[in-house]
Symmetry: D3
Subunit: 121 residues, 6 copies
C-alpha cells in the first residue's frame, strides 16, 4: 500500500484526481517526493509522522490541509486521545488560538467520520 | 522524576536558576503549567512529545529553545535517526530553509553532547 | 465578574458550552490558565490587554479568535477609534494584508453588534 | 494609468469604494503609500513585483489578498505559466501545504476570470 | 519632539545615521511614514503603541527590532511591570518559546540600560 | 552549469561539503529536488526565482539562508537596485522590521563581496 493510500484512505482516488486537475507538476511532486519519498522513509512510523504533520499544520494555520492529516492520523492508527494530546500540547508552543482552532476542526472531523468530507489535500 | 528533569537532564538546576532570574512568574508558568501540567499529561509518551516540540520550534524558527528540545528528545529516549527524520519531514511542511537550519543546529548539538552547552530554556 | 464575563459579555455562557463540548481539558486550560490566571493579572488594564490580544491575533491571522477579541476590546471599554488605531499600526509591523483583513473583520463586527455573531472562542 | 488601475483592472472602482467604506485612513495609506509610492517605484517591473507579492502572500497565508494579486499578476502581463512557477517554487521555501492552497486558489481564479470575483483588496 | 526622539531617545542620531547608510529610501519610509505619520497618529498614546509594537515583534521573532521597542516602551513611560505583563501575556497567544525569548531579551535590556546598547532600528 | 553553481558560485564546493556533513539525505533532497529539479524548471528565469526566494526568506526571517540568496541573486544577474526594490517592497506585505533586517543583511553582503562570507546554505 502506498503512503497516500494509508493516509488518504478511501478518499485517495478523489484527492488525486482533484490535485492533478489543479496542477499536474505540483501534484507529481506531492505524490512522488512528499508522500512516497519523504513520508515513506523508514526510521519513524507513520503514526508519529502524522502527529508531526498535525503540529506543523497547526503552526501554519492551514485548516484544509490540517483536516486531511487529522483524518490521516486516525487512519494510520493514532488514537483519538493521541491526536487530542498533540493538539493540546501545541498550545504551549504555538499559542491557545491555534490550538483551539485545531481542536474545533478535529471535533468536526470526528463528527463527520464515515459520513461527509471536511477537507482534502 | 519531574518532566523538567527528564528533558533538561543534568542542566535542570542551571536552567531553572537562569529562568527564575529572568522572570519569576513566567518561570513559574513554564514549570508548573507547561512542563508539569501539560507535557506531563498521559496519552502520549515523552519521546513523541519532544518530537512534536521540535516540529513546533522549527516552525517558530527559535534556535535556543529548539536546541533545548533537540537535546531533550535524545535524553527521553529518541534515537538520533528519529530526530533526523522529524527534521527532514519538516521540510515538506515548513520549507527547506527551516529544516536545514534545524539540522545544522542538531549537528552542533550532537557534536557538543557531553562537553559544552548549545542552548537552554 | 470573571475576566471571561468581561470579555465575552452576554455570549459567555454559549462560548463556554461550545468550548467544553469541543474538548474539556483544553477548555479548562483556556478558562483557568489563559483567562482567569494570566489575563486576570494586575499590572496592565484589561483594555490594554485586549488591544495586545488583537495585535497578536492579527499576527497569527486567526479570524475567529480575532473577532472574539475585537468584540472583547469594545466590551472592556476600548473606543472604536482605539481599536482602529491598533489595527492601522499593525500594518507597520505585520504588513498591509494582515491589517486590511483585520479592519474588514472589525467593520463586520461593528455592523453586527447587538444583532448577530461574527465569531467565538 | 495608476498602479491600482493596472493591478485591479476593471474592479478598481469597486475595490476602492469597498476599502474606503471599511476605513478611510487605512485605505488612504494603501492607495497613496503602498500602491502609488512603493509599488510604483522604478527599478523593478510591475510583473516581477506582482510575483513577489504572490510569494509574500503565500507566506502569510492570506487567501483574499492572494487572489487579488494572482489576478493582478495576470493583468500586468504575467503568463499563467509564470504564476504557476512562482507558486511551485514557494513549496521549497514555505512548504507544500501553502503552495498547494495557493495553487487551488489560482485554479479558481483562472476558472472565474471574465465571469465572477474570487477576491478583493 | 518627534516620535523617533521619544522612542529612540539619546540613540536617535546614531540610529538614523546607521539606517540612512543602509538604505536611504527605506530609511525615509521608516522615518516619514512609519514613525512620523502612523505612530504619530492621535487616538492611542505612545506607551500603548509601544506595547503593541512589542507584541507584534514577539510574533515576528525579530530580536534586534524588539530590543529597540523594549527600550522605547520604557522611554515613553511604560513601567517595567507593564512591559513584563505584555510579554507574559504573549505566551497565551504566541506560545511560551517566543515569550521566554522576549523576556530574556528584556532582562538584558534592563541590565544594559544606561551603559551599553543591546539593539537598534 | 548546474543551478547550484549559478547561485552559489565559487562557494559551491564548500557549501556542498558542509551540507553533506550535516545530513547526507537532506543535502541530497536540497541538491536534487530543490535546486536541480524545481529551481531548474523553465518558465521563470533564475534572476526572478532568486528575487522570489529572497521574499520567501524575508517572510521566514532566516538570515543565513537569506544571505545565500542575496548573494545568489547578484550572481545570476540581478542588479543591486533590483534586490533593494524586492526588499523595500517586502515592507508592504511583511512589515518594516523584516524588511529592515533584510536590508541590513544586504548591506553586509555588499560590503563583504569578494572578501569574506556572510552566510551559506
Amino acid at each position: 500500500m502506498s503512503v497516500r493510500e494509508a493516509i488518504w484512505g478511501e478518499k485517495a482516488k478523489a484527492i488525486e484526481e482533484s490535485l492533478e486537475e489543479v496542477d499536474e507538476d505540483l501534484f507529481r511532486y506531492i505524490r512522488d517526493f512528499a508522500y512516497e519519498e519523504v513520508l515513506a522513509r523508514p526510521g519513524l512510523d507513520l503514526k508519529t509522522r502524522e502527529l508531526l504533520a498535525i503540529t506543523a499544520l497547526i503552526a501554519l494555520g492551514s485548516p484544509k490541509e490540517l483536516a486531511t492529516h487529522l483524518e490521516g492520523a486516525l487512519r494510520v492508527g493514532a488514537k483519538e486521545e493521541e491526536v487530542r494530546e498533540a493538539i493540546i500540547q501545541s498550545a504551549l508552543f504555538l499559542g491557545f488560538p491555534r490550538a483551539l482552532a485545531a481542536m474545533k476542526l478535529f471535533h468536526k472531523v470526528l463528527r463527520s467520520r464515515g459520513s461527509s468530507d471536511p477537507g482534502e489535500g
